[in-house]
Subunit: 310 residues, 3 copies
């Protein structure tokens, strides 16, 4: 988060990232998006020639790992990847140990996803100056590349992000996607409403984030420009954060019928639990920009890698 | 399987693949086989330059994954790989979700192995036109690259596949290798006999496939040109499809002694359970072409990748 | 270990490796170390162009796998990697099967780590002449690249390895690092003392290795030039090889205080159990060369790959 205190560029989060940097990343992501849309093979690019990136996924995510690996390859770089298979290994000193080992191997960047808040920041603080750190999701804190791809998708469709009205619906409390999106959209003066049951709402959200908070959907789908639906983490249902999935779906689930007549664009970070937070017709319907979000995934990561190394 | 209804080339199976295509793939596999036999490093090839292939192994197979990854690298392409470690993830909508994500990442081909019949066909039906699909084994349905490498091996040794006599022995019911081989060899007028206990025989095999079926080995090893021994899936033994391994081996196991005097060439898709379907001396003996089959693995996958992209 | 009986070069262990080869590997590792220390991207090197290396980690080690994969990439080679996730697969015939399959795929080298003694030698004996074999650790036998990187680190710091005094402390019995280091350092006339409790000492160590053995630390840290602290394998504690970790640490654990006034350099193969065999201040203190060891990891593997292919 100390982008300004060090000559090295990291992407640790959106909260402290200047708006000019975000504008630049969205512009460059548009550039790479056009290349990826073309029918032709991707032109060879050697921005990362001789560079090696380590992808450390202490929390498994094939989708995000693939998009980083593709971005690294398409910029001419090399990569090594580590995926933790459920077993938890690295905390405290041993995480420091990992950082020192990677640094010593002359790696140029570390992409890290971890279930604990602050791990990318910890790595950035302790790693040598030549190793860039990119946060691929840390606990319920930040997921900056997801927020960037959401913003890039919406900016291209709507022309601007300025002063848009946005609803974020579902499990706000545990969502790093929600936090990164709030911080990004507020830099563009967006008016944000968080919607979900008390048990899934971030504590003191209205005061902490300066947003509106409501428990009921009410008329929200007809009042906003963008709806960000969040993934219900089914594995947490055991801890009874809401009584039944059916009740959650009846209150907060979005269906094509519920969206009828709305002008809002529907986003979701994926993978969708179809039939829970969204139904099939909502995912593939006229409001949905979910597939466009996915198309943005590789382009945004190429833009981020280009930026940290520039 | 709709190779003819789309401009895009996929390899979903052998059943509906025209014989001309098979001839072509065998020819090209001979070409790559010669290159791989040479002592020299493999000449750099850029047929797949700028292309990326995703290898999705929902069912683990280090051997097959390695041969695809090597083929992709040796044609100058890039790849990303996913291996499921026992945990089952993708069914129904979520498999569709995976397909859409990969397509959106501008992947050029998907190589897929899955324990369920029809997954490659499902992907081919739903994926965008620019993404080629290659079946690396689906349930008990097809394993087309295995049948192609078996055929390439035998064609080189015998000069032709035309009207050869073939025995396929063992667990026919659960074998995708058996099905792909039957369909391939019948396109060359081969005379095929399936041999195994009732519990391991495909239902109505004689009618469905137009082959001979017998329960006892009889004199078969002296009557055929090729014997394809199948792998006994030891993990299925629990469900008691035959009384004991010893009884299976005594009835259907091939030993060097049993093969003595036969003119047949012995194939096996690997890995062999030595001491069960084959003994050590049969695997490494004069009838065996098993190591030649393995040598074919990379060459055939190079030929298939070349063809789908041509 | 038959480096002399075959035209092919393997690195199976240190015990039978001539000192001239070790000198050469240390020299070349110094060369690559300088390149890796530089701020510039690593110059493209094509020593392994058209070559493919298989990294077979039957025993998991992200750190060692990464350093080999980086070495292979930085020499312009391609690689495929297999990591066993706890499940044991390959013994006897099936290991032979794996070897034959890899050979048939025209792989040029096999890097192998295995929990059983002798697996690299078994592979070397059975694989075709064009496939180089590199031991990345076999059971409690040898870990030659670790000993080489320890030696390279110490030679650069001290100018020479000749006739140095060395203490190796901790779980000698189960340590391949200890064995490879003993054999290497004895080729330079080093005077070696092994220190640890009886339950963790190699049997008949004094006779077998021609070293000194002692149960107590005594004044050793003030008598030697190098201390190699070994990792306590915490998972073995269950079998009660020593009463409690605290007792081990109080007897053999190295702290900054205990090292005060010593002229010895402190090495550890990593990852360190901080608070067990070493405390934090020892790891990051003035005696420690542990991070320099890690920096050597990739350079030594580049030197080894260069040598086997030369």
């Amino acid at each position: 988060m100390q982008q300004t205190s060090s000559p090295r560029k990291d992407l640790l989060g959106i909260e402290h990232l200047p708006r000019e940097v975000i504008d630049h990343l969205l512009d460059r992501s548009d550039h790479y998006y056009e290349l990826l849309l073309s029918e032709h093979p991707i032109p060879q690019n050697d921005l990362l020639a001789g560079r090696t990136v380590a992808n450390l996924f202490f929390e498994n995510s094939t989708r995000t790992r693939f998009s980083f690996e593709l971005a690294e390859q398409r910029l001419g770089g090399q990569h090594i990847s580590f995926t933790s298979q459920g077993t938890s290994v690295s905390k405290g000193e041993s995480l420091l140990d990992t950082v020192k080992v990677l640094e010593a191997m002359k790696l140029d960047a570390i992409v890290v996803r971890h279930s604990s808040y602050g791990v990318p920041g910890f790595i950035a603080k302790h790693v040598a100056d030549h190793v860039h750190v990119i946060n691929a999701g840390d606990g319920a804190h930040e997921h900056p590349t997801q927020a960037l791809l959401d913003a890039a998708t919406m900016r291209m469709i709507m022309g601007t992000l300025e002063k848009k009205r946005v609803a974020i619906i579902g499990d706000i409390r545990h969502s790093r996607v929600a936090r990164s999106n709030i911080w990004l959209l507020q830099k563009y003066g967006c008016d944000i409403t968080l919607i979900g049951p008390d048990t899934l709402m971030a504590r003191h959200a209205a005061e902490v984030f300066g947003v509106k908070v409501q428990r009921e959907m009410g008329n929200i789908v007809h009042e906003v420009d963008m709806i960000i639906a969040l993934r219900v983490q089914l594995e947490r249902q055991a801890s009874a954060l809401f009584p039944t999935l059916e009740e959650f779906t009846s209150m907060y689930g979005l269906t094509a019928a519920r969206l009828a007549g709305s002008k809002a664009h529907l986003l979701h970070p994926g993978p969708v639990n179809i039939g829970v937070e969204l139904d099939f017709d909502a995912v593939y319907g006229e409001h949905s920009v979910i597939l466009r979000q996915v198309k943005r995934g590789v382009a945004v990561r190429m833009a981020v890698l280009e930026w940290v190394f520039s």
